[in-house]
Symmetry: C2
Subunit: 243 residues, 2 copies
């Protein structure tokens, strides 16, 4: 919660998925004037960007900026290059420790860096990113020690940091399970029907349907099932493995 009568600005990384949407809702609930930032980074699922625009509007973001950054120039991930998105992987033994091919090299570093530049431009020193505990094992750039190191670097490498304004990276979902993220979103009045959480959606007539088999779909389905909430986003049938 913020001081009464004072609105601060924050830049919120927004993919249009479940996690970043709840992260934006947390920023708004804390009283921030939210500048939402999405990336058109050559991802194969552009339906994400449509979801991000819907969510930014519904949650009252002051502005929604989409930055084009063509990471396909160097490839290297199933989300940006021509590599198959793995299906039905969650629940199998290897998935707990290995770094998945959907890892985009240095993605959160890149996204946070651009968010930092955007923040400095609009006079914001608070950044929000929806990383959470369930991602720690797979993605190095979701770990709390990475976020702390980024924050430290951001304070040294910016004009605002050099001039004494403290840059803060907020990770409101850091300690939450997918179940708790769903519960928190419901408590904050998030319409999850606007969101899209899928690495490989099926797009037909401009409408995207989650595949139901990639890691993101299965983790989302597990979260809704555990929270006892029906997911309002229509999906292909998902066979939910036990968490």
């Amino acid at each position: 919660m913020t001081e009464v009568g004072r609105t601060r600005r924050a830049v919120v990384l927004l993919s249009g998925g479940m996690d970043s949407t709840v992260s934006l809702a947390e920023a708004r609930a804390a009283g921030f004037d939210a500048h939402a930032l999405s990336f058109d980074y050559g991802q194969r699922h552009r339906a994400e960007l449509d979801a991000a625009a819907r969510v930014a509007k519904a949650l009252g973001a002051a502005r929604h900026v989409i930055v084009r950054l063509d990471l396909r120039a160097f490839g290297g991930s199933a989300l940006t290059a021509d590599i198959a998105v793995p299906k039905d992987r969650i629940g199998h033994e290897a998935s707990a420790t290995e770094i998945p091919v959907t890892y985009v090299p240095a993605r959160n570093t890149i996204f946070l860096s651009v968010a930092l530049g955007y923040a400095e431009t609009v006079g914001a020193s608070d950044l929000f990113i929806g990383v959470n505990a369930i991602d720690y094992s797979g993605y190095p750039d979701c770990r709390p020690e990475f976020i702390e190191a980024f924050e430290h670097m951001a304070n040294l490498g910016t004009k605002m940091g050099a001039e004494g304004t403290r840059v803060r990276i907020h990770t409101p979902l850091a300690r939450l399970s997918k179940r708790e993220i769903v519960e928190r979103g419901v408590a904050l009045g998030v319409d999850f029907g606007l969101t899209l959480t899928c690495y490989d959606p099926i797009t037909r007539d401009g409408h995207a349907t989650p595949c139901g088999h990639c890691d993101a779909c299965i983790l989302r389905a597990q979260g809704f099932a555990a929270a006892g909430v029906a997911d309002p986003t229509p999906s292909r049938r998902i066979d939910i493995p036990r968490p």
Copy 2:
């Protein structure tokens, strides 16, 4: 110098200016297979990218990648937005400590982050950036403590770092004056006539001429004059203030 018979890969940030060119020459001299990386970030002086391409080829870069990243989406700097580039500022008292309007918010953070992603994709753990001492006072993201913090963060936020490969950020010009950069370039056989170091070049018939009055032009001219070397890049007449 590298081990005999073993070539390592490095990603080298290359703007096409004097400093990044000498940084690339240092990477090559150290035995690295150099992957040069430039940005089309909506800068007003696209002639930079032509210079970068010439330099990458002349210095034997294994590859030269230009990543498009439209920072004009949020503006905020004389190099990306419609703000006048300051002229004849060097030599005046204020220039020693103030952060110039040519500062692009979080630019080196963003460039290094993308370089990190590119490095991970091509199996490189060494990054080169041509920051140097003369820039420290004006640009927070050129300071050694920033570079160290970035390196620490990079080791935590990447797959290669998590798997035990040490990411290194090389700043071969860190302790050099502009004079020493010129001397080092000459020693390494750099053809400075290929480079372009100007924030506001005059382009006519596809050929760019340095303006001779921005900070970059004046610092370059001071460096060549101090080294007693004639600058092979034709420029408008520069009245060099005493360093």
